[in-house]
């Protein structure tokens, strides 16, 4: 009976597996294949070599990779700290206002990321909404925060906010109220409850939220371009340049593969440590 059930599961999932295979795995295989082609070729009919990977080290492409991973890490940590109280409120305190907040956050996603980032540019640029008004009232201007690393991180935090908030709220909702109350009854302070009960029991939500935010931020391009004015070059920028201006598909593919391998390894490590069944509500 159990075998039949597991087979039924496989059959039901088959169409989705085929679609995923075609749309997700196939392009990955092509990129992987191109990454081991000689440089600047446009087909796969060549003997494999690893010259594109060599360029990654020789021409300093690890720098954009470090910037991407570093800024993604910092923004993920900031997102976690900023989203935790809000997610906690959504899961445990706000009750029906959680829906209002959810709609408010989701509505922001209806406007394209680039347009929202341009909105920030207009707001923060010299002579823009803030500095312009300030100067008009006080007669003195100040330097725009644009085109620096912190504003890129701000952009990443701003754009990927929902991707941390909702999984985190879902994770915190899984922490049983009576476990928190029992911990308090047994003498635990608020911080001890956070450390001993909330964080471990909300771990699936924390891992999923952090992975989503980190992965998206590591591959982000618009924030560094629009808000950062390319003060720093991120890895996604290098990949785009290699594929377009550089006309070097193998290099672009090799850069992509490095990023994919690093992020893939992190994702597998993270996901293997959490109970995904718990977070999608199949069990508690």
């Amino acid at each position: 009976m159990e075998r039949l059930h597991s087979r039924l599961g496989l059959f039901s999932a088959l169409p989705m597996l085929v679609v995923l295979g075609l749309c997700f795995l196939a392009p990955l295989v092509v990129v992987a294949a191109f990454s081991v082609m000689p440089r600047k070729v446009f087909d796969l009919a060549h003997l494999p070599d690893f010259s594109a990977y060599l360029v990654f080290f020789q021409q300093g492409y690890y720098k954009p990779l470090f910037w991407s991973l570093g800024m993604a890490l910092v923004s993920t940590v900031i997102l976690f700290v900023v989203c935790w109280p809000l997610a906690f409120g959504m899961a445990k305190v706000f009750r029906r206002f959680t829906l209002v907040l959810t709609v408010a956050v989701v509505v922001s996603l209806f406007v394209s990321e680039n347009i929202r980032l341009f909105g920030w540019v207009l707001t923060l640029m010299k002579g823009g909404l803030i500095e312009g008004h300030w100067r008009a009232f006080t007669g003195e201007g100040f330097e725009s925060p644009l085109y620096k690393v912190p504003i890129i991180i701000f952009g990443l935090v701003y754009v990927y906010f929902p991707f941390m908030l909702f999984p985190l709220a879902q994770g915190i909702a899984m922490v049983p109220d009576d476990a928190r109350q029992a911990a308090s009854d047994l003498g635990a302070s608020k911080w001890q409850i956070l450390r001993e009960i909330d964080l471990p029991l909300a771990a699936p939500g924390i891992v999923v939220g952090s992975l989503l935010s980190f992965v998206l931020a590591a591959g982000a391009l618009a924030e560094s371009k629009l808000l950062g004015g390319q003060t720093v070059i991120v890895i996604a920028d290098s990949v785009e340049t290699a594929f377009t201006y550089g006309q070097d598909w193998p290099l672009g593919s090799a850069l992509s593969m490095v990023l994919i391998l690093i992020i893939g390894a992190m994702a597998i490590f993270g996901i293997s440590r959490v109970d995904l069944d718990a977070i999608i509500g199949r069990k508690r």
């Binding site: 009576d178 476990a179 029992a182 308090s184 047994l186 003498g187 302070s189």
Partner: protein, 363 residues
């Protein structure tokens, strides 16, 4: 176990404790003294306010008015985590991400006790609760209902509370396991000497375990006394009925306390009644096990005639339902070996004596 007759030293005192939720008043000025080392059970139907009361006593909710004193220290403003009391939850509230050992050690870890000492104490508590040592590393999810119950108890005892509260912890268990754990709890109370305050809606649980029982109804205590006292001399119709099957007869009372009823044939010789006449009417109460089937020549202080309507087997006892000529139902219970040798439809005479009769003032 304390001597139920001895008032003892109060360890926790509640004075005029009131709790309101918006317009609704859940507790109306509760006064209660919990004695050192006693097993007090608070019993009441759903919605009577017993869970609200226990949450106030452990500090999980704030009271609207009144005071709670632990010995000579007022604690109603003290947060739950700073009170020397502890509760075993209805859901048990074990930490699912920790092993049995880590659950038990939790309150010790919070206090900064060293890992070796914690482990030592956890193993002692496993032994006290009759769980094998190797349960220390077992996951909570692998434990059975009864084992989880014991782990929750061990964790609460590791906290070493002044008073241990229980919020219906046995309600989710099956009958047999519940019976076993009731006895174990009573035994544990005797062995630890701690003050236990237990909440339940099950009268049976209360009767098995408690030194004293407090009956709650609609946010007030109806009666607080030892189990026998509450069973034999309830103060109200509610308590009488809540404590089990009962026969109640409305009677009018003379100045000397002599009852009169159209239904009952009263033949008390001498006319000395154990109750004082405070009102002009009252309820005469007799428990079904004290009612006898009389033959024509038998006598009893109180007699009622009727016909046997039905009989029900209750395991070791048989319950009979007799309907009087005026349509009043009277319940009789007999042990199996003393069963009535007749059949439904028989005309019967029932009787009982004054010593088993109690007067409830309310009519």
């Amino acid at each position: 176990m304390t001597d139920p007759a001895d008032p003892g030293t109060p360890v926790l005192r509640l004075h005029q404790v009131t709790k309101t939720f918006g317009e609704f008043t859940a507790l109306h000025g509760i006064d209660l003294e919990i004695r050192e080392g006693e097993f007090l059970t608070i019993v009441g139907p759903s919605g009577s306010g017993k869970s609200t009361l226990i949450r106030l006593m452990v500090g999980m909710d704030e009271l609207t008015a009144g005071e709670i004193w632990l010995r000579d220290q007022r604690i109603d403003q003290t947060p739950a985590n700073e009170r020397p009391t502890c509760m075993v939850f209805q859901s048990l509230a074990l930490f699912p991400h920790m092993t049995v050992g880590r659950n038990i050690e939790f309150p010790l870890k919070i206090r900064g006790v060293s890992p070796d000492e914690r482990r030592q104490r956890a193993l002692e508590l496993l032994q006290l609760l009759r769980l094998p040592d190797d349960y220390y590393d077992k996951q909570i999810g692998q434990c059975s209902g009864g084992e989880k119950q014991r782990v929750a108890l061990a964790r609460a005892l590791a906290f070493d509370p002044e008073i241990l509260f229980f919020d219906e912890p046995l309600s989710a268990l099956d009958y047999r396991l519940r019976k076993t754990l009731e006895k174990e709890l009573k035994d544990l109370h005797a062995r630890t000497g701690k003050t236990f305050v237990y909440i339940t809606h099950s009268l049976e649980e209360a009767m098995v375990m408690s030194d004293r029982i407090a009956i709650m109804r609609a946010g007030r205590f109806e009666q607080i006394a030892v189990a026998d006292e509450i069973y034999a001399r309830p103060v109200s119709r509610f308590v009488a009925e809540f404590m089990g099957e009962v026969n109640l007869f409305e009677v009018s009372l003379s100045a000397s306390g002599e009852p009169a009823s159209e239904l009952l044939d009263i033949n008390v010789s001498g006319g000395e009644y154990p109750w004082k006449n405070r009102d002009e009417s009252g309820l005469l109460m007799v428990r079904p096990e004290f009612v006898r089937f009389l033959s024509a020549s038998d006598t009893a202080d109180f007699v009622v005639q009727g016909s046997l309507q039905d009989e029900y087997a209750l395991g070791s006892r048989i319950q009979y339902e007799v309907v009087s000529s005026t349509g009043r139902r009277v319940t009789v219970e007999k042990l199996r070996e003393d069963r009535y040798l007749g059949a439904p439809g028989d005309d019967v005479i029932l009787g009982w004596d004054l010593e088993h009769t109690h007067l409830i003032a309310e009519a």
